[in-house]
Amino acid sequence: MKVRVFVSLKPGVLDPQGRAVHHALEGLGFAGVDDVRVGRMIELDVADATSDAALEQMCQKLLANMVIENYRIEKLETA
């Protein structure tokens, strides 16, 4: 089973990288970009029997830093 974990900074946590990307987009002439926040997507290939609870634990114990980040788990249907 393929699983995608999206890790993003919590609202309110300043994102210097997002701000720099925002500036760069403006520099390229793209108007109307209000905000940019940079996150990370992690793709896992796990046994089909892997429980939701185990996936949550993986996120909380390692993949995300719960002090500053949120995560979202997306399971992809196997083809």
Binding site: V13, L14, P16, Q17, A20, K61, L62, L63, N65, V67, I68
Partner: protein, 225 residues
Amino acid sequence: MAFRAAVVTFPGSNCDRDLAVALEKVSGTPALRVWHGDAELPERLDFIALPGGFSYGDYLRCGAMAARSPIVRAVIEAAHAGVPVLGICNGFQVLTESGLLPGALMRNAQLKFVCRTVPLTVENSQSLFTGAYEQGATIHLPVAHHDGNYFADEATLDRLEGEGRVAFRYGDAVNGSQRSIAGVLNAAGNVLGMMPHPERAIEPELGGSDGRTLFESAVKALVAA
């Protein structure tokens, strides 16, 4: 009485030797060297030091992989048992990632690697790591990091301030840290994490000796005890 200190080396650590040299110069006893894959620490340690560097290539997040390594599980146990633990730079990042210290160290606000000597204020001279400094003294230590921007939520910051757990504060704008925090203590006072490098300032030939006082504080507090 010999001062039994251990320095942990992770793959990618690069200040471990400097740290061992500083500990030996001040305590007179060679520091024990521990490898990240070891499951156990040497017995009867007086002091554990986590060095700067780029453990595990900073993969995922700075300090994240090291914080889950076998030896850090042993360090966490030792810290809970009261053994003093000092984490410098990447070692500080490992301590926040491991949960031994609150908060997180994010990318510097200006996005640049900062490498220079900075002024610091000693905010708490009562800890076992800082007892030989004057309260409120301005000292100078080198910093060298890309991710030293200390972040914690407001409630945590207020608690740290209220409990005297901010050990050092930057004297000028270095990396965007909340409330200019450069070093924090745990609630019990036996764990200190700091971004500046005291081990790089232990004698005038190195550009300053303000860092030596930190090791002298610890050796004095622990050997006398």
